[in-house]
Symmetry: D2
Subunit: 361 residues, 4 copies
């Protein structure tokens, strides 16, 4: 068939991808001299078992204002292999021009997809995904290391592989000792693995949070209700692939999961303090009113902790995104008084929120 | 690679498609002894130039409570042909088991995709899409007719093909005379073609409204804001593929487009009257209050038309979905009084809303 | 000024209250032969320190599909007393005709508003609120009892009165012994008081959940995000004020708070089981797939508990409102296998979810 | 009763008004050296026939990011006069401290509420509302003028007063000639009066758009669906009451109504051009792609108008708030080509959108 006459038309047809888009980025402050980048390093398309074309993932990332993504197709599992036969690099190649056009950083990655042990791992910052397709999983890891990949263990508590308890197998010790594991997913989609959180703290590994999205993103995430995808916050010296890699190599991440932050204390404290602006404090002898503004798109849930006698303030207090508040405190005339609380949705270790203490008079 | 050990795992992976779904059907009443079926006969997937896997289209239809859909891939245009090589029937075959499982009626169709004239046409109720792939468009139409397809002209006013005015070409007369055109898209996505509306009335053709969706549906339609996909309402004797075909063959359709209804007067009047329930009317000598309930998910916009002197009621009035209202009318003591209005968003011909007149005393 | 000529106009002006309304009731099933009524017994208007006119509270209740409300103005505190001087019954009297018209059950009530101890109490099912306005709080309680009121303690853990711990004072023992306390608020707005929950279980008191709303309801509750007001579910023999009273007197309530249910086990179990419809179960020798439908507007969060070896199913599972699910279970060929889990957001005692166990083969 | 002990508590109770608030201002650009202020000069509270306390109106304005409001209680109609007896200035006095605290400009006003003719008028920038309460409406207007008020005619097409056609009565000529009418409401709530629009153009009067809100604002305006209150955009030299007055006196306003702008051409053109940022244009010999960003919260609907032969571009095109677009144009090799369109939702006279013409090569 002669397609020549169709071509001008088809150019318009295909251009419709991403023709009109609105960007809704969640405001999260930069901290400690680093840029806070919003990243998702675990995503699928029809080139493994996801349900959308690769460019859709870039459009989604653009609309959510993400800085970087990685399309991590399963090396061992092409759900649609009868219809789609392609290199393991193909997904990246298709998405790359669209990502460049929309200024989304696209990082080449693949998912090593094995039974437990060792389970699933993502290798990102690859140069050639095809080279990882090996029968023996140890060879896949070795090749990833050879390509200088950043490798993390995916969803250790996934019930399909660890149906009752989240075990660390001998194979994981071997992988770690071989330099094949640099991080662990603490959160994957709706899954939050407490063991992963502790392992990252104990073994000085990088904490990762990902969407592991297979559906069109809006099918799983109801943005109109204030939901967001699970993501990794990367505290980078610069907004580049290299900047992200340097931060990952130095464990400078936190996880944004179901309107909670999970991470090392110094980063969460800095995010909290950079989010809240004190507008003014009106002080009397025994009473103060603090007016403050949450400049971020984050929610903070405060719970009173032990404090000096006769200091009276909230027991539980919620600070919603971009909200302005007046908080009242009573205190005794004499002596220094402090307001102490835990931010229960900023988790610095399993079950433990960020502890805060501010002098009020 | 030996996949045997992976299989139990993979079965779980693939089952995640459509695992948890909520159905939100717009309530539109049955009329005149027919079931009102909500249908979309123009949809794309990655098997032409859409951006999702075919099963996604069935999931979307299930969630919106659609009764029937057709995946109408371009015969002449596979945007992803480098990676996906398949029969023109493949999209239907992949979607069929999921459709059966979710009780969505799936109708085999294809889009004949040509320069203007004659432009694009959909042929649905096909038995073999591959047989339509011909160089000469007349042969494609002839084959569709041979398969007893229902054929309609797509988006006659599409600016890529008719950039300034919407013309009826000689080829369309030929197509009509050959029995190759049974309906026309009056609405396609965000496009409403007044000329198509008039042609359907003049030539006794079936009015069709479709989404022509390429993106994941939620990218184009903001359901949280009350948007809906453009669709065809089919007034069928039964909820089956055969029932739909019989109704299409007898022009028993209307179009639901941007919270408007477009169609023949008798159907729109019946929908309006079956949607509104009069709860009660309290009448005095010169004053009545009508309490009514809109049982449907449709909006109705009323505009006063010419009426008897001294009858006083609203000038413009909006009835939102599922809302309850109290409407006041004053009238003279003597003689019969009527409330006359136009429902401006139920269009019975181009620019003309449904005319209503009700006796109030 | 002669207002006669204005009157026809003004009739129209005032009629605009509640002219057009949409009802969005959350579906919660009836149980155990009782009707499940959705009630809010703690509400304020401008007649104490709320910010809206009393009829607004009825309109709000109608829109949310509530069955019954009580306007419980503070007896001791009229924030707007400079401008509004009225009987303590006035709020009820203004709201009553609108409530009757919209079929919302309006129960006369008042809030006894004292420093701690004893704090705040609501007395509902009063016949004359004015008679409760006494200097001595004991006289107020005695009068409420004389009027055969149903009396409950409000927000025992409110930080303004119990800033650090939730104490039961001697006065509460006195009140209880005098027959002046029939229930306790376990939840009040965003406040959930664990101590109240335990006290209700220990002392056989009625569990109450209320909004204690002061603002226009939409200011505090973001319905578009799936939020709902805190309310009491009353399991009544009939949908009347008397039916509600009989149920309250017999502790047949549960609390709907932030998409959790709090209450006695038998009621929560019945709600769970009446909400979930098993569509079908397909069983093999070692594998079953359960298809189910959540017919309710409630969310259920399931967490696996201890179970027989070799039974493999979800670890955590969320069932959203009105959603359809396919759940897979593997089990050994021999012997009976059970799926055991806790519904973590149906709380039957502090920190304890509803325990469930179903035989799968 | 001794309230002394209650006072610390009550201070906390009353402080809850406006304790936590989020500001969502619609982005509308400044133009022509003026600040674009978002104002609503027609609002009711319980001090006439509105349904909320005056401070609620300030909170609502703060949350919507309004710059200025006026509480314009009816002078002749107190729906709740049995319970609320107060000066006509009272509403302003109650709201003023909250407005100052939240930096909302509060302008004292009143509504002169008469049968037609002359109907209802708002007088704003008053110094004493009580002085306007006169039996003879001419005396009320004279007093308003004496106080140097800005006076505008409200909802001329309101069906309760002009049930069939929108008439200009002799009394309006008298009022205009006396210097008692400086503007007219072109839009009031859901009402758009074409006659008012033309009168403002013909008689050089200031165009006003108002909410005339009586309900809690969220009852009438569904913000989650992208609705907004009808408001007046004031193009002021400074963000002060005086700045607003100067702009009103010089007809520097436009109206924001149902996602349309209505106003004089120079202001609407400036808003359109300041909203759209051209990111880049890639040009070939016969083809250009324009990438642009809508920096505003406004929607623009474009419709092609007459243009040179062989220039091919969209027929209808919608630009949503804060969206990014790629627009393609084809044109002949030789000669200058222009893209011509009307922005159909920026109305510069009744039924007439803003005409635009841009050279493309």
């Amino acid at each position: 068939m002669n397609l020549t006459k169709l071509l001008p038309l088809l150019a318009i047809l295909i251009a419709s991808t991403g023709q009109a888009q609105v960007q809704n980025r969640i405001v999260i402050p930069d901290i400690l001299g680093f840029k806070t980048l919003q990243c998702d390093f675990h995503i699928h398309t029809v080139f493994s078992d996801g349900l959308v074309w690769p460019t859709v993932r870039v459009d989604e990332a653009y609309r959510e204002g993400l800085d970087a993504i990685s399309l991590t197709e399963h090396l061992e599992w092409q759900a649609f292999g009868r219809d789609i036969v392609a290199s393991h690099n193909r997904s990246y190649e298709i998405a790359k021009p669209v990502a460049d056009n929309l200024d989304v950083i696209l990082i080449r990655g693949s998912e090593i997809t094995r039974s437990m042990p060792p389970g699933h791992f993502n290798a990102i910052f690859l140069s050639d995904s095809d080279a990882l397709a090996k029968d023996d999983w140890r060879e896949s890891f070795a090749e990833a290391k050879k390509q200088n990949a950043f490798i993390f263990w995916n969803h250790p508590s996934w019930d399909a592989q660890q149906p009752d308890t989240t075990l660390w197998w001998n194979e994981h010790t071997e992988i770690l000792n071989n330099g094949w594991m640099h991080g662990i997913e603490v959160c994957n989609g709706n899954l939050f693995c407490q063991e992963s959180f502790q392992w990252c703290l104990d073994k000085n590994l990088t904490m990762i949070g990902t969407s592991d999205i297979h559906q069109p993103i809006q099918t799983d995430i109801d943005f109109a209700r204030g939901e967001h995808r699970t993501m990794t916050l990367v505290f980078a010296k610069e907004r580049t692939a290299e900047g992200i890699r340097e931060a990952l190599d130095n464990q400078r991440t936190a996880i944004f999961y179901q309107n909670q932050l999970i991470g090392r204390e110094q980063y969460l404290r800095a995010i909290f303090e950079n989010s809240i602006e004190i507008i003014d404090i009106s002080r009397g002898q025994t009473h103060a009113t603090v007016r403050l503004l949450n400049k971020s798109g984050l929610t903070f849930r405060l719970k009173k902790t032990g404090h000096g006698g006769d200091v009276v303030y909230f027991r539980d207090y919620e600070i919603k995104p971009h909200s302005r508040h007046s908080i009242s405190v009573r205190f005794p005339i004499e002596g220094e008084s402090r307001v102490n609380f835990e931010v229960t949705n900023l988790l610095v270790s399993p079950g433990q929120g960020l502890q805060c203490s501010y002098r009020i008079n």
